[in-house]
Amino acid sequence: MNIAFSILTVVVIGLIPWIGTTAVNLQYLFGIIIPYAAVIIFLLGVVYRIVKWGKSPTPFRIPTTCGQQKTLPWIKQNRIENPSNVVGVIIRMALEILAFRSLFRTTRAELKEGPRLAYGGFPWLWLAALVFHYAFLTVVIRHLRFFLDPVPFFIAWLARLDGLLEVGLPVYMLSGFALFAAVSYLFIRRVVVPQLRYISLAADYFPLFLILCIAGTGILMRYFFKVDVISVRELAVSLAGFQPKLPDNGIGGVSYLFYMHLFYVSVLVAYFPFSKLMHSGGIFLSPTRNLANTNRAVRHINPWNYPVKVHTYAEYEDDFREQMKEAQIPVERD
């Protein structure tokens, strides 16, 4: 059900620009207005989400860590897993963001002969996630050759590295295929493992299908049904230079593939701040990762403590001094 709904949504999203640029001439809408709108939604949405998260107090350090915290001098501290200062936190965050360290801890329970329950390391999710994210990053940076004017040197280097095998012309870019394969794995995993299928929602499948479609249309455009990349760059540069203009002769070749690709990307970018994809911002704000474990070393004051109105004994005595004297209760002050 969730899968069917997501597939249907992605197909409809693909049909919109196809009809919009072949049956109706809405190139201006799909080439200029929607991409700009998507970028604005993306930027405002991300800022909104981060600021909203920033408003949540983190009154106490959460020591859900996997290492010995700083304690007596003869007990060895694990400085990266359970840091007590900023340097340790920076190393822990860097490893988390760049190497997905906590994902590497994924384990799988297996029933072995006996029967005996065994938990073993399961690196495949981590590996696929790593391949997926870095391939996507490479693809995004490579695409800057369409937007930047002049093209910086490192983009040509990256393209050279990516097309290292020098197979075919245009040269096969490894990142595109790696991206497609990794996303396919991440999808198949959700379908094949029953527990995962049970907890997977449309919001889990939809981004995967969207990225599959983006990679798919991109691969089709590069290797099979070519578009005129010069016109594509003309459009992209005009967008980045705030002088939007459709190329005079349109996007040559199979242009609806290009508009489908662009529309899929626009949808992904606009959908980003309101979806699980915000984990890219959220990882920086993970309280279990970005706070040094100083629970005992430093005093932490609960930020939502309000000032409590207290009534001291001295004030109490002032209120009832006469009555207390009458009843012969000793008073501190006459």
Binding site: V51, G54, G168, A240, F242, P247
Partner: protein, 125 residues
Amino acid sequence: MYDSGKIIAGLVIFIILITFPFWYNHGKASIAPDRVLPKDQKECVEEISYMTSSHMQLLNDWRTSVVRDTNRIYKNKKGKTFSMSLTNTCLDCHSSKADFCDKCHNYLAVVPYCWECHLTEKGNP
């Protein structure tokens, strides 16, 4: 907001990175270079729109055909035959690599490896 200094600094860095293409281009939009087409010829090996988007594929097929199958004769869709040769056929009409090839390739930062083996101009190593 809590830790607002760090969060706002992070957001500013994020926005600067994401909007990199916008400020890198200084609000300018360069126009694609004009191709200098040969004056004495009207038709290329295949249709011009096909050549624009797929010339690299054609050249790659030519290379395979020549190097692997020792077949140097190319028959186009109209039935006209050509000798499969970058230097002798392509560069015969498109005589200036700088004017014809490089302009678009540089515009897109494409570095084709044709010229690692092929000579750019006839008889001029």
